[in-house]
């Protein structure tokens, strides 16, 4: 898509927390109404609704994909609704759908939303779902493979090649949680930021992944209102303009994932998205990286050329990516800081990108925030979608 076609003009979010009393529809009402009000629009201005398909929650998934949301919220002007599922890249695809509707003239204002309630899923169902999701049932699952182990395989190889130490890896958690502790929507808001020693002293789940390097499932949700860039300018409100994007597919099966191809994919998508936006990496105010596990962050920091090869771990350990550091990085603390809301972590990332560009990020507000790099990856990493968002066109 070309430069400056859409903008996020309204955001709404509920804090991530395990709150079984807060139902899916409870969260949908609160986040969607907040986003529409934040955009300064009337509910009947919303002409399209795109939902991130919730993982492991078949009832709400069916209700959304069968078109219940516009009816429930009384969106009388709604012309179409759809759900998107591309795992962690779902939100990117919801925004692309919104972009298409706005381009084609179907809708002038589109509501994009995500909701997840993990706390009411029986533990056995949660384990059964996440044990198999993204794990090949013939060539991986029979060996006892898990998401955590797949992450361990990647991290061990990265440490072998880069020389990144366990202390440096653990410092990523400290960095991410330093942001999360200042985010009212985080699971870890106002909670102590664990030191490197504390991370490393937590139980070893699988080498080199410690318990505090994993993440906790949580309930949450958020919503965004998207309009054309032209309309956003006319609205004269704080907005986040989409300026560039790029994507590469890697593989659907982890054992087939060529690490070199993944690395090149991250480099190329960043370059292409920035070229489309007409900026260079020096212009980026925030690297909002959605990677689900902290162990992937040093690798990606090097691929994005934020840190030189072999130095990213040191950058994290020195606190350069932490709150107050000179390289603002994943300012909601990614999944380890936000709490894992399934595909909602990427949705929360986009809301944060918009929030920072709108100047509404409170204590976490990055000064002079003009351009944000925001990525998303599908499932257990089948692709990488890089986008650049700006304060203005």
């Amino acid at each position: 898509m070309s430069k400056g076609k859409i903008a996020i003009v309204g955001i709404g979010e509920v804090p991530t927390a395990n709150m079984p009393t807060r139902t899916h529809w409870d969260i949908i009402y609160d986040t969607c109404m907040e986003a529409v009000k934040d955009a300064g629009l009337h509910k009947n201005d919303i002409e399209g609704v795109v939902s991130v398909s919730p993982q492991a929650q078949p009832k709400i998934t069916a209700e959304l994909s069968f078109g219940k949301l516009p009816e429930e919220l009384g969106l009388k002007g709604c012309k179409d609704t759809v759900s998107c599922n591309a795992g962690g890249a779902s939100t990117s695809n919801c925004l692309r759908m919104a972009e298409q509707w706005i381009h084609s003239g179907i809708a002038k204002a589109v509501l994009v939303q995500h909701v997840t309630v993990h706390s009411t899923i029986p533990l056995a169902d949660q384990i059964n779902f996440f044990a198999k999701a993204g794990v090949d049932l013939q060539w991986e699952y029979p060996y006892g493979t898990t998401y955590n182990i797949i992450m361990g395989l990647m991290a061990n190889r990265f440490m072998h090649e880069s020389g990144c130490t366990p202390e440096q890896m653990a410092s990523v958690v400290t960095a991410l949680r330093s942001w999360a502790s200042r985010d009212p929507n985080s699971f870890f808001y106002k909670k102590d930021v664990p030191s490197v020693e504390k991370v490393l002293s937590s139980d070893l789940l699988n080498t080199p992944l410690h318990k505090r390097e994993s993440n906790v499932l949580g309930d949450g949700g958020c919503a965004m209102v998207v309009v054309s860039a032209e309309d956003a300018q006319k609205m004269k409100r704080p907005a986040a303009y989409k300026l560039g994007d790029s994507v590469r597919y890697f593989s659907g099966t982890c054992v087939m994932r060529d690490f070199k191809k993944v690395e090149e994919g991250f480099r190329v998508t960043a370059r292409e998205a920035m070229a489309q936006a007409g900026i260079t990496k020096e212009d980026v105010s925030i690297w909002n990286c959605y990677l689900a596990y902290p162990l992937a962050h040093p690798l990606v920091a090097e691929l994005l050329e934020v840190a030189p090869p072999g130095k990213a771990g040191q950058y994290f350990l020195e606190g350069r990516m932490s709150f107050g550091g000179d390289i603002p990085w994943s300012t909601i603390g990614d999944a380890p800081g936000r709490g894992h809301t399934g595909s909602g972590v990427s949705a929360a990332h986009y809301v944060e990108t918009a929030r920072q560009l709108m100047g509404k990020a409170g204590e976490r507000q990055v000064k002079n925030c003009r351009y944000v790099y925001q990525n998303a990856g599908g499932g257990s990493g089948f692709n990488n979608i890089a986008t650049i968002w700006g304060k203005e066109i």
Binding site: I127, Q138, W139, P142, T146, S214, C254, V255
Partner: protein, 157 residues
Amino acid sequence: MPAAVRDSTISPPSGERRSDMEFDMTKPVPEVQPWSEKFWEGTKEGKLLIQVCKDCKSKIFYPRKYCPECWSGNLDWIEGSGRAKIYSFSTAYSMVEPKFMDELPYTIAYVDLEEGIRMMTRIVDCEPADIAIGMDVEVIFHERGGFYLPYFRPVRQ
């Protein structure tokens, strides 16, 4: 018959709560596709078979219905040497499904076969602390529910 090890009888860990019994404790076997049956038949005979395309000469893993390089259906099998090098590994100590807990700790690895393909597997017959990237390993077959999963162990000097 190949050299093979068998899964021991599986019983729930002691002290397990009744409510946890809803977990499916059946250990999984590969969900076979028609075109991968030959691979699993091979393992029963102690052979690690590799699918090859007779038209473009590609070695194919995992086995497909048609060659993923040229879409030819003219496919065949060769027997691999069973020797490989560890590309990466991760040893699990906890947080696995209940059905695998009796096997902890266990090591999952990517191994690069001499024939140029990469598999996911288990590394067995050695201490986790002795496992390293680049280590030479050889195939050994592990029986589970009538299937023989290719596991790997360090090559004995």
